[in-house]
């Protein structure tokens, strides 16, 4: 067996176990999809650093780790108090909680009367493969995009399904809360979220990832989003996994004409974090905003890959990622913008700025613009560096101590993304974590 195939072995064993437990459902359309995805996974294998998309990202620790999948929901029942820390100060939200990848109805809060909204989990739908939302997502075949998405699809068991009907504005945020309990060591979970925003409709989705303990585990998650014509989705994604965890997440967004998608992706946790967000602007007049904030310390590896596909004319995209790295943390940012030949009048702006607060922190930042149309405006910029000395001096000259001046400027740097987060309670939570890291970790700002 080739060296690279050794890493696939445990997943083959897991898949056999999984199929064994499925009795009778092996012929279902869902399982057909799983099989196709698993075959795909086996044929492409895990990515390696010879591939452009993974050039700077060493995932060997993840590949070499042994994981234990769980094919049934947790025996341990959590109480509301156990998850309080993850509820953003009792944010008033429609709430779907997933524990170790499985829907936990006792912890979830749904307004059943909300007739304009279908909100449930895979495991709750009977014959859900017949549902219209499923067929839409089946057509996307995202498992062909990437090995981790294929793996997620192969082990697809549960996750959130959100459908906002046409002509509907949902005011309350919808919180998809994914928690790993660390009940057993080396858990692996495959959460899958599907979000469908109907025509002329709007919603705010908050997708968060937390854990109850500091052990090693692996979250491999995929979120598929469809924003119909003239729809509007505000998507907040917050990753605050254990510092020993591995987190691989992909978000696939398909936008129809005149739709808006606004993403704020916040990354604090995990030993290795890789998040891919791709938006396909499949219609004229679309607007996509991808904002991100990442903060790494210790030996964290934090990788953000984005891809915006300008497939049609008159679309705008705005992208702003801000990173703060200290200790030996390693950041990777890759922002690809594809402007196809027909996509005239495209306006695309991208920036990635990264603060390196220690000598050993490093960032690989790579904007990639592929432009095949001639009447477009595309700009990108990347800055890497330390805090501005003149700004530090300015604050000090007003009586603010050097360390505090640096903290204020670091905070201000992050604030440029934080202020765009649509939900106040989440902004406050992110502020709190940021400030705690700045003052409690004395090494954080050197």
């Amino acid at each position: 067996m080739k060296q690279e195939n050794i890493h696939l072995e445990q997943y083959i064993t897991h898949f056999d176990q999984f199929e064994h437990l499925l009795n009778g459902q092996k012929d279902s359309p869902l399982h057909q999809l799983r099989r196709k995805a698993f075959d795909r996974f086996l044929s492409v294998g895990f990515p390696n650093r010879r591939q452009e998309e993974w050039r700077f990202t060493n995932i060997n620790p993840l590949l070499e780790a042994k994981f234990q999948p769980k094919f049934q929901s947790s025996e341990k029942k959590l109480a509301a108090g156990d998850i309080k820390a993850f509820l953003y100060d009792d944010l008033s939200a429609t709430q779907l909680v997933f524990i170790d990848g499985y829907f936990a109805p006792q912890l979830s809060l749904r307004e059943e009367t909300e007739k304009d909204l279908i909100i449930t989990s895979f495991s709750q739908i009977k014959n859900w493969q017949d549902s219209d939302i499923f067929s839409i997502f089946m057509d996307y075949e995202t498992y062909k995009e990437d090995a981790f998405t294929a793996l997620n699809t192969a082990f697809l068991l549960d996750g959130a399904v959100i459908k906002v009907k046409d002509n509907t504005a949902i005011d309350r945020p919808i919180h998809l809360l994914h928690i790993t309990t660390n009940e057993h060591p080396d858990q692996v979970t495959y959460p899958r979220n599907m979000v469908f925003i109907g025509r002329n409709s709007q919603a705010t989705i908050l997708e968060s990832y937390f854990s109850l303990g500091g052990n090693r585990y692996f979250t491999n998650t995929v979120t598929e989003i469809h924003v119909s014509e003239n729809g509007n989705l505000n998507h907040i994604r917050l990753q605050n996994e254990s510092i020993a965890a591995f987190h691989i997440g992909s978000v696939y967004v398909d936008q129809k004409p005149n739709s808006h998608y606004f993403s704020s992706s916040i990354t604090f946790g995990a030993a290795i974090s890789r998040i891919n967000i791709s938006a396909r602007l499949d219609g004229q007049g679309c607007e996509a905003t991808l904002n991100g904030l990442y903060m790494g310390h210790g030996n964290q590896l934090i990788d953000n890959h984005t891809f915006i596909d300008h497939a049609n004319p008159h679309c705008n995209s705005y992208e702003s990622y801000q990173g703060i790295l200290t200790d030996q943390a390693h950041g990777v940012f890759s922002g690809k913008i594809l402007v196809r030949p027909d996509a005239q009048k495209t306006d695309a702006k991208q920036s990635n700025n990264c603060l390196l607060l220690s000598d050993e922190a490093q960032i690989n930042s790579k904007p990639m613009l592929e432009i095949y149309a001639d009447d477009v405006r595309c700009t990108h910029g990347a800055t890497v560096g330390q805090l501005n000395e003149d700004a530090i001096f300015y604050l000090r000259s007003r009586g603010i101590a050097e360390q505090q001046a640096k903290n204020i400027l670091t905070y201000a740097f992050a604030e440029q993304v934080i202020e765009g987060i649509a939900v106040k309670e989440v902004r406050e939570y992110v502020d709190k974590i940021l400030l705690a890291r700045l003052s409690e970790d004395i090494n954080f700002v050197k």
């Binding site: 501005n388 003149d390 700004a391 001096f393 300015y394 604050l395 000090r396 000259s397 007003r398 009586g399 603010i400 101590a401 050097e402 505090q404 001046a405 204020i408 400027l409 905070y411 201000a412 740097f413 992050a414 604030e415 440029q416 202020e419």
Partner: protein
């Protein structure tokens, strides 16, 4: 209050200040004039503690203490204030949050309690009036997107809030139209008292029509080459700086 003796300073190996002597007493306004490149801004920055400059020789006593030994923040807490020639834009930090932090640092140093939020608001409004600051600027990020005049006015506004003992104005008049210049000058005049002192660094005599100095010093090539009363400023206005080169 301030006693500068034989001050020599370099930046990146170039000697800019070549032996400055200057004494400033409480209640006085000193103007420092001179052509571009004479060392005026260097002097202002060395006094405020900018680390890019290296002091080779000389001493600076501020209220009897060795100023050069103090960190920039300590100088500020002891009542020294520099109004910058080019105030830095700081996105993400609101003007009023910044001022409150600065004021509280000073109060802490003086052994006072942090200022109460309501009292701070009153203080802001009261001082904003002095420099005719648009209230909207208070909640904007510090200097971000401010016009040149707004930035300079914001410097004087900060000075009014922090109430320094010794204020150094580094070319605060440059780039201001006459109305803005008058506002800035009015701000300084209203803060002037027998308890504080000002050093006004300027290229032009124009500002000194509105802020009347007790002493005028001409800085040229890193040295004070002439000192006199306010009439020296008028003389410079007439003769320009060319006579210095002869």
């Amino acid at each position: 209050m301030l006693e500068i003796k034989n001050l020599h300073a370099t930046i990146e190996g170039n000697e800019i200040l070549k032996g400055i002597d200057l004494q400033v007493n409480v209640g006085e306004i000193h103007a420092i004039m001179g052509p571009n490149g004479s060392g005026k801004s260097t002097l202002a920055n060395v006094l405020a503690g900018k680390e890019d400059y290296e002091v080779q020789q000389g001493s600076v006593l501020y209220e009897g203490q060795d100023l050069l030994e103090m960190s920039p923040e300590d100088r500020a807490r002891h009542g020294l204030f520099l109004a910058f020639q080019y105030p830095v834009e700081i996105p993400g930090v609101s003007n009023s949050y910044f001022l409150k932090t600065a004021l509280n640092e000073k109060r802490k140093f003086q052994g006072l309690e942090e200022i109460d939020a309501a009292d701070f608001l009153i203080l802001l409004k009261q001082k904003a009036k002095i420099v005719e600051m648009d209230q909207a600027l208070l909640n904007r990020p510090l200097n971000e997107g401010f016009s040149g005049g707004e930035k300079k006015r914001n410097e004087i506004f900060q000075m009014a809030i922090l109430d320094p003992k010794l204020a150094i104005l580094d070319e605060t008049d440059s780039g201001l139209d006459i109305d803005a210049l008058k506002i800035v000058a009015n701000g300084v005049n209203s803060l002037r008292s027998s308890q504080n002192a000002f050093i006004v660094v300027t290229h032009y005599q124009r500002l000194l029509q509105y802020i009347v100095p007790d002493f005028v010093h001409v800085l040229y090539n890193g040295k004070i080459v002439r000192s006199g009363g306010k009439e020296l400023a008028y003389e410079l206005e007439e003769k320009g700086y060319d006579w210095l080169k002869e």
